[in-house]
């Protein structure tokens, strides 16, 4: 591959005589939304009798996807800077355990939550420092921490689950419903709004996109790109810790298997949503839709009675198709 600069040159030279002004509608920018609607319509039509469209089932999809969505929000920032975080699933597991152990030891709700989130922040800090200070590619750094953290999660309780009896904790972090609304939906909506504002409406978000768009240009323009990268890894660790609390609250326990393989679903949701794996282009709403779509497909296939192997094949194919048709992820 040629350098980025010559790439940009080539792309630019094509239209060098005219400034393109017309903003024609390009459906490929909205592929994930169309695909999502398509999936919903398909399952609604074919699985109507099996109760796919029932409120219960739809809320269930929300509950099942909440953790992926929340980690996906933070991952959107990481990928927008052109980096990646593979350690999120392991962090969720470790955080569920540290929170559960703290609660078990009697440090109370606040203590448990603080330790759970702190665990995530700490791993995020390690990731961020290794990427920025030692200039190790984030793929390798987080591949390393993914394994290390997963090992830690198994080791601290010798793979034993830690039950959580604090009913407030369990209610707030996962199991509760406010009226008909699951608390996981509340968390998802709140975090989505915050993340969207953060990415679109704050200098932090703008500089995140700038860092991923062209790091040296961003530095020339006064963006502290290393600090931005450190912050996105901190954010990713924090949200993974939060997802760990939600797993714990939903299952009334901490367990080392929580979040296993989540990193792939999270990254798939982000890319499916339209965030560019090369950085510079990111969308929070797209990520949530991407996550919901994966969750809906999962749910629909289960109701259809397909076994796990068939589900995996179909899910994989749908993801490849959606990304192939989408534009942002493959352009540049």
């Amino acid at each position: 591959m040629q350098s980025k600069d010559s790439n940009a040159n080539g792309a630019v030279a094509v239209g060098s005589h005219t400034v393109t002004r017309k903003k024609s509608f390009d459906w490929r920018n909205y592929i994930v939304y169309l695909a999502f609607i398509g999936v919903i319509i398909y399952f609604s039509a074919t699985l109507y009798d099996q109760g796919f469209v029932s409120t219960d089932n739809l809320l269930n999809i929300i509950r099942q996807t909440a953790m992926i969505s929340l980690m996906g929000l933070a991952m959107t920032f990481v990928i927008s800077t052109g980096e990646i975080d593979l350690s999120v699933g392991s962090i969720a597991a470790l955080s569920s355990l540290t929170a559960a152990l703290t609660l078990q030891a009697g440090y109370g709700l606040i203590g448990g939550v603080a330790v759970g989130l702190g665990t995530g922040l700490l791993v995020g800090l390690v990731n961020g420092l290794l990427v920025t200070k030692l200039a190790i590619p984030s793929f390798l750094v987080t591949l390393g921490t993914m394994g290390t953290v997963a090992g830690l999660a198994m080791w601290i309780t010798d793979t034993a689950p830690v039950p959580i009896v604090d009913s407030t904790f369990n209610f707030v972090f996962g199991s509760g419903d406010i009226g008909p609304i699951p608390i996981l939906l509340v968390w998802t909506v709140a975090a989505t709004i915050i993340a969207h504002i953060l990415l679109r409406k704050t200098s932090f978000g703008r500089q995140t996109l700038a860092t991923g768009g062209n790091e040296s240009a961003a530095r020339f323009s006064g963006v502290k790109t290393q600090r931005i990268k450190l912050l996105v890894f901190l954010g990713s660790g924090f949200m993974a810790g939060f997802a760990g609390l939600l797993y714990a609250g939903r299952m009334h326990a901490g367990r080392f298997t929580f979040g296993e393989g989540d990193e792939l679903s999270v990254i798939a949701a982000v890319i499916l949503g339209g965030t560019s794996l090369f950085g510079g282009v990111g969308t929070v709403i797209g990520t949530v839709i991407g996550s919901l779509m994966i969750g809906t497909i999962n749910n629909g296939l289960i109701i259809m009675g397909l076994d796990v192997s068939q589900q995996m094949i179909i899910k994989g194919l749908i993801i490849i198709l959606a990304v192939a048709f989408g534009k942002k992820a493959i352009k540049r």
């Binding site: 350098s3 600069d5 940009a8 040159n9 080539g10 792309a11 630019v12 030279a13 239209g15 060098s16 005589h17 005219t18 400034v19 393109t20 002004r21 504002i197 679109r200 409406k201 704050t202 200098s203 978000g205 703008r206 500089q207 996109l209 700038a210 991923g212 768009g213 062209n214 040296s216 240009a217 961003a218 020339f220 323009s221 006064g222 963006v223 560019s276 950085g279 510079g280 282009v281 540049r332």
Partner: protein
């Protein structure tokens, strides 16, 4: 006497003990466009990098409006209202024009969120003032090169600026875009900006600049009023008197009556390469001269298949070849050593032998294993043939001199025994000793019957090597000169400048 807005006095700078700038004086007045000229390595860009805080001077002072200022980093330069227009390095293609211009300096709403509306309005006003027709909401990645440049300028001017440095701003612009840029520069001038204009193009400088300063070998040689100079004077100042002895031309003997080994017919690529045709004969060295952006690199990469082309035929040894990529080209017997391949072309931690073997490993195999005897023989042959100075073939390449490293790169590309060798700026960034060695190697290769095409911005080198020189200007071959017809570097300069 008129007051200078910027005055750099007595500036000296050395890198690793090699003097790059030697007590240089340079000043620019308010509302003036001041050209800075000089050959490669004259010190222009070092001087500007000192002004913009990329480097710090070893010695000397910088005054702005007669105030002594200290510029230690790029922030200091900004604080002193100095802006530099980069070719395309400070824009982010995935952000819009307005987002780029105000990056890190965005307006905020009362609760601290980005106020994009305000930024867009300000950008619109700024662009209107500059009479540039760009939509603030357009992604920079969708803009043409010319508008990319304008956006850079608008970005520089969106913060308070007095001194604007432009480095070869027209290198990638079309004629029309250049005209737009010039009317723009005239506007800035009338608004009282001081503009430093670095360029190799005399016609442009005479059109747009008020004064001209010429550097040579890190020294200030002249500052003149543009109305009182002509091309000859400028070229003389740039070239100086003594030509390097190492670069003396040696008339070479080769059979001029054979069939050409490479024929290029009507090669075209948009406005960058227009209807380029030439022949290359075995044993001949042909130089391509031209300014930056004249289409030299595009031409060779189109021939080699690594760059695009719209039309044109490539005929090798009388046979028309379809060359779509580098491996087609290699099969056809062509080799191209691009500018950026010289350093990256080596695995520095590996030995001479390992580096040479890399592209031809498959030929060295005996069954599944590498035939060490054969490999050693081939490596030793190359070391001998190219006169690579190394203790043995097992020495790691980072212990060798730059020139010898360069020869190993050559060896790698020669391993497939191409009949045509194309070199883009073969000596850029190597020291003078290594340069002469490389020049010698290229001559020897030609003597052994290979046809060689050399692109170089260093005219002494081009004159030392070439049997024939093709001059490119705006994508066309405008002149073909036999080396015998060129008496001095000045004559070639004239041809290149298009006068």
């Amino acid at each position: 006497m008129e007051q200078s807005m910027l005055s750099m006095r007595n500036i000296s700078k050395a890198f690793n003990g090699i003097t790059v700038l030697d007590s240089v004086d340079f000043s620019v007045k308010k509302g003036e466009v001041h050209a800075l000229m000089g050959g490669n390595g004259a010190g222009k860009s070092t001087l500007m990098k000192i002004l913009t805080g990329v480097y710090t001077a070893d010695q000397g002072e910088i005054y702005i409006d007669d105030q002594l200022v200290e510029i230690k980093n790029t922030d200091d330069a900004r604080k002193n209202y100095i802006s530099m227009i980069f070719q395309e390095f400070s824009l982010i293609p995935t952000l819009t024009v307005a987002q780029n211009i105000f990056l890190t300096r965005e307006d905020k709403t009362s609760i601290g969120l980005l106020n994009d509306k305000e930024c867009i309005a300000k950008t619109r006003k700024l662009l209107q003032d500059l009479e540039v027709d760009i939509d603030p909401n357009e992604l920079v990645g969708n803009l043409g090169v010319g508008y990319w440049q304008m956006t850079e300028i608008a970005k520089a001017l969106s913060q308070e600026t007095k001194i604007l440095v432009m480095d070869e701003p027209t290198a990638s612009l079309t004629k029309k875009e250049t005209e737009i840029l010039f009317s723009f520069i005239n506007q800035l001038k009338s608004k009282g900006y001081a503009i430093i204009y670095i360029s190799h193009r005399m016609d442009e400088i005479l059109e747009i600049c008020d004064r001209i300063t010429i550097l040579r070998d890190g020294k200030h040689v002249a500052t003149e009023d543009c109305k009182q100079i002509d091309l000859d004077m400028v070229i003389q100042h740039i070239v100086g008197s003594g030509m390097d002895k190492a670069f003396e031309w040696v008339e070479r003997d080769y059979d001029k009556n054979t069939a050409p080994v490479l024929e290029v017919k009507n090669l075209s690529l948009g406005s960058k390469v227009q209807d380029v045709s030439f022949n290359l004969f075995p044993g001949e060295i042909v130089g391509i001269a031209g300014l930056m952006g004249s289409g030299r690199t595009e031409t060779v990469s189109a021939i080699f298949g690594t760059g695009p082309k719209d039309s044109g035929d490539i005929i090798v040894k009388g046979e028309k070849k379809t060359i779509k990529n580098a491996s087609d080209a290699v099969k056809a017997g062509l080799a191209l050593i691009p500018e950026d391949r010289r350093v990256q072309g080596l695995v520095l931690e590996h030995s001479v032998k390992e580096n040479i073997m890399l592209p031809i490993l498959s030929k060295m195999q005996k069954g599944l294993l590498i035939d060490d005897k054969k490999a050693n023989k081939v490596a030793n042959d190359f070391v001998k043939k190219l006169n690579i100075k190394t203790d043995d073939i097992y020495k790691t390449t980072n212990l060798l001199s730059g020139g010898n490293q360069q020869k190993i790169v050559l060896a790698k590309w020669l391993a497939n025994d191409p009949s045509v060798l194309m070199l883009d700026e073969p000596t850029i960034g190597v020291d003078i000793g290594a340069k002469t060695e490389i020049v010698d190697v290229i001559r020897e290769l030609a003597d052994s019957g290979k046809a060689i095409l050399v692109i170089s911005s260093e005219l002494p080198e081009l004159l030392a090597l070439s049997d024939r020189v093709l001059v490119m200007h705006e994508g066309r071959i405008v002149k073909e000169l036999q080396r015998r017809e060129i008496n001095t570097e000045e004559e070639l300069q004239h041809a290149i400048q298009g006068f």
